[in-house]
């Protein structure tokens, strides 16, 4: 057991967690942030993607205790004051959402990319979500959504 303190979506959190608990389990079971999903448990599918200190990681392959002192962002943090982010709206408008199970992970991978650059190349967009498996959409609309969000953010509107 270990006490961890961390920031999740801008909120300070403190909890006593078993050493063996994954960050994914902590987010889903303790904080009831069920956006991040377990799709495979071995870091291959990306459904559990969250940002830790601004970087997209597979939360099924990280311990909660490793997140002590870190800033974690999940899809639930994308919405501000009940308003969808530019990225979330872009996913909706581009038709990039079908069953939705991969969507939170996709959005966080995209957010991780947009934190690095607002002018990503096509290759950079694909690379950012290449670790997020989707069985429904065929990816084209997802790539278009991220491109559109980057364009909008570069033009200075919204977040």
């Amino acid at each position: 057991m270990r006490r961890i303190t961390l920031t999740v979506n801008g909120h300070p959190e403190m909890a006593d967690v078993p050493d063996g608990m994954t960050l994914l389990e902590f987010l889903r079971d303790r904080l009831v942030l069920t956006g991040a999903k377990e799709g495979c448990g071995i870091g291959e599918c990306g459904a559990c993607t969250v940002l830790v200190n601004g970087r997209a990681i597979a939360s099924c392959l990280m311990l909660a205790v490793e997140a002590d002192g870190c800033e974690v962002q999940t899809v639930e943090g994308e919405t501000e004051d009940g308003k969808l982010s530019v990225l979330q709206q872009a996913f909706i408008d581009a038709g990039a959402v079908q069953c939705g199970f991969c969507t939170p992970g996709m959005i966080m991978s995209a957010r991780g990319l947009l934190l690095q650059t607002l002018d990503p190349t096509d290759e950079e967009i694909v690379e950012a979500v290449a670790g997020n498996l989707c069985r429904c959409t065929g990816y084209e609309a997802i790539i278009a959504a991220i491109r559109s969000a980057a364009d909008t953010l570069r033009e200075g509107s919204g977040s």
Partner: protein, 283 residues
């Protein structure tokens, strides 16, 4: 839960070594991208997990004055790929690092971890072998240097003792103008383990050519050096392929057949040589 282990995060190498010496079933944790999969599957059940990411000295990536590249054991692959040091003679290292897994995995996985996992398919191994890399290993009582050529002892087995940890991977200074390249054959364009991977380093002035091959033997294999001086690219390719086929022993497994591995190995070596000798190729 991934297990009922105790988690410790030492601040110094000495402390980590002490913890390692004190518990037979301890595991070292860097990126966790291989280890956690093993814990989840029940292939390992350690009593103690020692996280090395809190040790500052292990997080450094730097070029030393004499040109040695030093990569701390806790440096993630993503950091290597992005770093300006991963250019020039190290460009193949960036290519190999970028070929591993996904963005999410590369933000956590480390070079040292890739080596310690001991897989014959380790993508960084062929590059490091061609560059004459060595690792610095420490234990409570000892510290030693292990040449990478002696590091891999079998499938998922390395020369590291149970009480030893890698502190850094070091690449010695390379001849100026060295050309390096890395190629990997996968089953899909998305993330995949290597069916075959190859790395090459060519010193244009001495003509020294080194080729290393992964996924075709129980360990990554460094071929004997070839002197490329005055040899045409076609002939050089033929020499390298002949040497490769002599030194590797590919098997049939769920990923590929030995026949396919041999066929693709020829193609990859041919393309590797072409890249190394062409004016735009390599560094």
């Amino acid at each position: 839960m991934l297990g009922s282990f105790e988690y410790r995060d030492p601040r110094t190498i000495a402390e980590a070594c002490r913890l390692l010496a004190g518990e037979d079933s301890a595991c070292l944790l860097a990126g966790g991208t291989d280890l956690f999969i093993e814990l989840r599957a029940g292939w390992q059940n350690p009593e103690l997990l020692i996280d090395i990411k809190g040790i500052d000295a292990l997080g450094e990536l730097r070029t030393e004055e004499d040109g040695t590249l030093s990569i701390g054991a806790a440096v993630p692959l993503d950091a290597i790929a992005r770093s300006p040091v991963a250019s020039g003679p190290w460009v193949a290292l960036r290519e190999a690092a970028l070929s591993i897994g996904t963005q999410q995995l590369r933000h956590r996985a480390t070079l040292a971890g890739n080596l310690c996992n001991g897989s014959p398919a380790a993508d960084t191994a062929p590059v490091l072998l061609t560059l004459g890399a060595y690792v610095m290993a420490a234990s409570l009582e000892t510290s030693r240097q292990i040449d990478l050529a002696n590091f891999f002892t079998g499938v998922k087995r390395t020369a590291l003792r149970n009480d030893e940890m890698i502190c850094e991977v070091r690449i010695p200074p390379q001849p100026p103008g060295l050309r390096t390249a890395f190629l990997k054959q996968q089953r899909v364009r998305g993330h995949d383990l290597a069916v075959v991977n190859v790395a090459g380093a060519l010193d244009p002035s001495s003509g020294d050519l080194r080729v290393a091959i992964g996924s075709c033997s129980p360990t990554p294999i460094l071929l004997p050096s070839i002197n490329a001086a005055g040899v045409s690219p076609t002939a050089l390719s033929a020499l390298a392929i002949e040497s490769a086929l002599d030194h590797v022993s590919p098997i049939d497994d769920v990923r590929a057949s030995a026949g396919y591995r041999k066929a693709v190995l020829e193609t990859l070596i041919d393309r590797l040589i072409a890249r190394l000798v062409s004016p735009e190729g390599g560094a």
